[in-house]
Symmetry: C2
Subunit: 289 residues, 2 copies
């Protein structure tokens, strides 16, 4: 994990415009938002899925960087006063606090095309046609029927009582879509998977995506701001429906465990080549931050 | 012009998610931001440049819709309180006034990937490799070294005295990059242009892009809010450097005329197939709104 995280830091440094390029303040803010923090869960998943498909790590690195840029932009926009209005992220001031609101808005606006740009500038698939399809997968995962749509469902749910299926629908969009894209695109960097294997991998991705969110909800309720590096207890304060508010803490923890088992089961037909994916399911559920 | 505008309205209606698809409020807001207004200058330029390159109109339509989505998202984000804080656009309440700030933020965030998505879902070039290059051109034009970068330079210039070259640098990014992309991508839908012809077309695009901005500055100072459909006199009120504030009204008007002549000169080696591009240079400079 440490090796992938270090590799990603170097790669992202290289893909982001240098701070001395005009407009310097925007480029410094983009680097602030992307570099120097984060668990890099999506890149870790992309590398693990890529390994399963015997993909070239150079390709995976590009795909993982693009996904991490989309993820980082979403955090910057999420933290804005008109959204979650948060001041702390990854143990540091949020982007609009460190810079200003307008710059934070533009950081997100500029990270998004940069993600698509790097996917056009490097070979990440066996053919340009396959590469176009990968761009399409990332666009769908990011847009109104993916991550941005999940944010909109989230907005609409504040102060409401959701059923468990409604909550699941929100998270399948909000965090699940990009996590699924990380797994799928990582695997698509290779060419070794049959359609049936892809189905299993997608089921794994959906399951760990949900598990990630369940654990996030548990941690938000259960941990300190210092441990998380972001404001704890925020969901309850904002009257957001969560797995904890619907199920209670004990049942939410049990659900995370069930999802971990389901993720492992989805990989049961694979051998040692899926070991990293199994370890990541464990990491996602057992993490403390 | 009317035919292209009507065609674009239909195409954009088709490419945008239907209002009944979840999340409905976001999709309604996306449609509000994109449909039912605007001069469609960028699509007009894409169609005119495509005609010069004997391109299939079906291809141009996709490219023009993608560019118009990027343009529409930039207006929605520009109008937000943390940016220009404007309440009127195309004679209607701005998106965050009609809906709310968080939704307007997500409208922009979701229009951007939709633009890239449609460029992956339709054949717009003779090969997938050429199509990837077109996606790259749009990503560059939208990002920190294009439109979003121009916004950042604009932010940094408020209250400052800029030189004419500094003002030009801002506008080459802020509005010029996407106008240039419209011309270049329209032409790339075809396959009939030699490299030298492309150079001339790019010079035309740069020139009309600047002319567009000079005329915008003149109109902001010179017209009523009712005529423009957006708040007039905003630049002076916000102490923004403009062609009028640097050159005065008379010299700004003369500059627009010079740029119109330069745009025509750039097309001098073309025949009747460039007639629409010539007419658009005239329209851009002689428009009253």
């Amino acid at each position: 994990m440490g090796a992938v995280q270090a590799r990603m830091e170097t790669a992202l440094q290289r893909f982001l415009p240098a701070p001395e390029i005009v407009p310097g303040r925007l480029h410094r803010a983009m680097r602030y938002a992307v570099l120097g923090g984060g668990k890099r869960v999506r890149p870790l998943l992309a590398f693990a899925a890529g390994e399963l498909a015997a993909a070239d790590p150079g390709r995976i690195e590009v795909v993982a960087a693009a996904i991490e840029m989309i993820h980082a932009y979403s955090l910057v926009h999420d933290d804005l006063p008109c959204m979650d209005d948060d001041v702390l992220r990854r143990g540091r001031p949020t982007c609009h606090v460190e810079f200003d609101e307008a710059t934070a808005l533009l950081v997100g606006d500029a990270l998004q095309p940069l993600a698509f740009q790097i996917l056009t500038e490097h070979v990440i698939a066996d053919s340009p046609g396959a590469q176009l399809e990968m761009l399409r997968i990332l666009a769908l995962a990011s847009g109104s029927r993916g991550m941005a749509g999940g944010q909109a469902i989230d907005l609409a749910s504040v102060g409401k009582t959701l059923s468990l299926p409604e909550l699941e629908l929100m998270h399948i969009h909000k965090t699940g879509a990009l996590i699924r894209a990380a797994v799928v695109l990582g695997a698509r960097c290779g060419s070794g998977l049959a359609a049936k294997q892809f189905d299993r991998l997608e089921h794994y991705a959906k399951t760990v995506g949900l598990a990630f969110q369940v654990v996030d909800d548990v941690l938000d309720c259960d941990s300190s701001t210092a441990t998380l590096g972001k404001t704890a207890g925020k969901d309850a304060a904002q009257a957001k429906p969560t797995y904890v508010s619907i199920l209670g803490l004990a049942r939410a923890r049990a659900l995370a465990e069930e999802l971990r088992a389901e993720a492992h089961a989805a990989l049961s037909s694979f051998g040692a080549e899926a070991q990293r994916l199994r370890e990541l399911a464990d990491f996602i559920v057992l993490r403390k931050f």
